[in-house]
């Protein structure tokens, strides 16, 4: 494969300074990036707070027992949907506003349109939260954003959020595909493959998941489509955006090209082919035809091979620069995320087998796995990107490096404790279930695990609050940022 001109990529370090930022300055709309990040972190905190409160229900200490709109079930939707649509989308879009002009050498379609999308998107996330609290959540996992219609009918009862999100996704496609299309006479760098395909996949996935199971396909057929939606949203939007941005930021920060473009090609095309075929593995051992279930199982195992090529590529890129894990916080976030990514995908390889599925499905194992993916991988990558960009966007040196280390260790250890805890709880639940232990005895046995979950959730929330405080103080504390020094642990 020919290597592609990647702006700001090279070995000499000269690119990574004020000179290049000035050159790219009129390409990137810095306030857009900043405000998307600010809202991403805001929603991250509200989502995690909701998750923390929800976990208290299991300790018999739920604070809003008598308030319908803050009830356990509804607040749980806020936890997952704000992370997906409030935090992840904002963080990705913010990073794309920075990365795409630099990758293509062109502005996005319109900065004005950017502000419109920005404003509308925050309102949509808010409308999603309000709608869910009022009881208009849709019964599609990860797609509980209100359709606005009464389930399965055409009677409009609330703002049609789903439709507006779809419009938003199309606008995002116009915004980001325009500069990519203008630069298309060139061969595209791997980041742009992931990003442009990911945007198209988002549009298709979202339409499919929010219409078919709701109005046309019932029961088993609906479940097959919902499985496809759950998986495609993570696998065909979040994952490509995440890897696309990793392919951009890691070489820049490490100041060396990606190790193998051949592996990037394999990684991308295998993802594009196998990932969408995984959907049905969310409903294994169900009444969906077994041939379809086996297809999903084999594709899921194939994805593990894809993942291995990509992870190998990134670790080979870092070969000989292991010190960066110690000295460079963004790299530490990125590679911690990659280790977790490898663990989650290795898990998938085994989960998807029917023997393991029998025990772990329906248990806490699955939320444990989901937390490692959404927080440990994609949120960690977004945090890493923000960590690298924030001083460059604000022109201010980090308010406190010490806080940043506290954030890393609290979040990372909190997540790891939660992961191990929920895995253990899941195996125990599944084994007791199979042994026909009475239901309430299982619940009672899970109690200590739920206590640990709340504790570890508190650690994660505390770490994230430190992050928000650090970002805010950095933005308002003038302290000129030296472009030649990355965030380094000892330099505090």
């Amino acid at each position: 494969m020919t290597t592609v001109d990647l702006p700001l990529q090279g070995d000499d370090g000269a690119h990574d300074g004020a000179r290049d930022d000035a050159a790219a300055g009129d390409l990137v709309c810095v306030p857009l990036v900043k405000w998307h990040f600010a809202f991403a972190v805001t929603f991250m905190i509200t989502s995690m707070t909701a998750g923390f409160i929800v976990s208290l229900n299991f300790l018999g200490a739920y604070p809003f027992e008598d308030i319908r709109w803050l009830s356990y079930g509804r607040l749980r939707l806020v936890h997952t949907n704000e992370i997906a649509y409030g935090f992840l989308v904002n963080a990705f879009v913010g990073a794309l506003y920075y990365a795409i002009p630099r990758l293509t050498g062109r502005r996005v379609a319109s900065h004005g349109l950017g502000w419109v999308i920005f404003g509308v998107w925050q309102l949509l996330v808010l409308a999603t939260t309000v709608g869910q609290l009022l009881g208009y959540g849709q019964a599609v996992e990860w797609g509980e954003t209100p359709t606005g219609f009464r389930p399965g009918s055409w009677e409009l009862v609330y703002l049609p959020v789903d439709f507006l999100i779809e419009v938003g996704a199309v606008l995002l496609a116009i915004q980001f595909l325009t500069p990519i299309a203008k630069a298309m006479r060139k061969r595209m760098y791997v980041s742009l493959w992931y990003i442009s395909a990911g945007i198209v996949w988002l549009i298709l996935t979202y339409v499919m998941g929010n219409t078919l199971p709701e109005w046309t396909l019932a029961g088993a057929s609906g479940a097959a489509t919902v499985g496809l939606f759950i998986h495609d949203l993570v696998g065909l939007f979040v994952t490509p955006m995440g890897w696309g941005l990793m392919y951009f930021f890691v070489p820049i920060i490490l100041r060396r090209p990606i190790w193998s473009h051949a592996l990037s090609v394999i990684g991308f095309w295998a993802l594009a082919f196998f990932y969408p075929l995984n959907g049905v593995h969310h409903f294994l051992l169900s009444s969906i035809p077994m041939s379809v279930q086996y297809g999903a199982i084999i594709s899921t195992m194939a994805v593990e091979i894809v993942v291995t090529t990509v992870v190998v590529n990134f670790f080979a890129t870092m070969w000989g620069r292991g010190d960066a894990l110690r000295t460079n916080m963004p790299i530490r976030w990125f590679y911690t995320g990659m280790v977790f990514y490898f663990i989650t995908c290795l898990q998938c390889f085994f989960h998807t087998t029917l023997a393991v599925q029998e025990i772990i499905h329906f248990t806490d194992w699955v939320p444990g796995h989901a937390h490692l993916v959404m927080l440990g991988v994609f949120a960690f990558w977004c945090i890493g990107i923000m960590t690298w960009l924030w001083p460059r966007l604000t022109g201010n040196e980090w308010y406190s490096r010490r806080l940043h280390h506290w954030q890393y260790w609290l979040t990372m250890l909190g997540l790891f404790i939660m992961f191990v805890d929920l895995l253990a709880a899941g195996v125990m639940h599944g084994a007791m279930f199979k042994a026909l232990v009475p239901w309430m005895d299982i619940v009672e046995s899970l109690e200590p695990y739920w206590q640990v979950r709340t504790f570890s959730g508190g650690m994660i929330l505390a770490g994230t609050l430190l992050f928000a405080w650090n970002l805010f103080m950095t933005a308002i504390t003038p302290k000129p940022y030296d472009y030649r020094v990355d965030i380094v642990s000892e330099a505090a």
Partner: protein, 286 residues
């Protein structure tokens, strides 16, 4: 392989469409496409006694909720007033309304996040919950959107219908811990309304014999929104007491209480329906 057109057309559209056909269209084509999806009206053809009992037990909430509540009469009412007609058509309409609203509430309160609705052929699930769920049983309008769920914080509800009494469900929504100690299910106080009830204090002599507290009282069906309505109901009951119970007339009184809302009745009707429907083409096997 690395130009925009191939990325968007082959990866973006092509791979997506291929997977959609294989894991979306194909399973539909070989299963649900062969039998028309049953409508809620079809599901509501046989009105179960559990739904009719809701009218006996909670007549006020029932009449306020259902469009044709005035046209239907329960077995108990027909015994007392043989000149009435049961109103079978109206029963079906009310039941269809209850099923739909109950399902909507099941979604709205996000019950489906903690309760699954499919029994797998492994892990002794059939012993715990009942027969393994077939695709045909889910090919109905109440499963659109599908409510299989992916987590069991609480037990599977595929065969929940007719397993427990309506009263059990009412008590359970009021406080799950009362009926299944140790439960982590939240309370649902908003499924209850305040009102006025007619109650009858126990005969002191009988209370003494049964070692019950002398102030023990039992409610008559009906939870009225105002005290005046409850008092009118009390007069009505008093006027119609059979001579054998004449002594009870003095022990009737009106008290504040709470009971399930019409919305709660729909949810209970939906839960009592779960697993009771057999698709017509499977009825011979069943």
């Amino acid at each position: 392989m690395d130009r925009m057109s191939s990325i968007i057309l082959v990866a973006g559209l092509g791979c997506f469409a291929f997977a959609f056909v294989l894991s979306g269209v194909y399973p539909w084509a070989i299963t649900d496409a062969k039998v028309p999806t049953a409508t809620i009206a079809e599901l509501a053809q046989d009105v179960p006694v559990e739904f009719k009992e809701l009218k006996d037990a909670y007549p006020v909430s029932f009449s306020e909720r259902y469009a044709r509540a005035g046209e239907v009469h329960t077995a108990r009412e027909l015994t007392l007033q043989p000149e009435l007609t049961p109103g079978d058509d109206a029963w079906r309409d009310n039941y269809a309304q209850a099923l739909r609203e109950g399902r909507d509430l099941y979604i709205s309160e996000v019950c489906w996040h903690c309760h699954s609705q499919y029994v797998r052929p492994v892990a002794n699930e059939a012993q715990r919950f009942g027969p393994v769920q077939l695709a045909d049983h889910d090919n109905n309008e109440l499963q659109r959107p599908q409510l299989w769920g992916t987590r069991r914080v609480g037990p599977d509800l595929t065969h929940e219908g007719r397993r427990r009494s309506n009263d059990w469900h009412v008590a359970h929504f009021w406080n799950p811990d009362d009926v299944s100690p140790g439960s982590v299910m939240p309370r649902y106080p908003w499924l209850f309304r305040q009102g006025w009830q007619v109650r009858r204090r126990i005969d002191p002599a009988k209370a003494d014999r049964a070692r019950l507290p002398a102030d023990r009282s039992y409610p008559y069906p009906g939870l009225w929104s105002s005290k005046a309505e409850a008092e009118a109901a009390l007069e009505d009951i008093r006027a119609n007491l059979p001579s054998s119970l004449a002594a009870d007339a003095e022990r009737l009184f009106v008290a504040e209480s709470s009971g399930p809302t019409g919305e709660a009745l729909s949810l209970i009707a939906y839960l009592q329906w779960l697993g009771t429907w057999t698709p017509p083409h499977l009825e011979e096997d069943a």
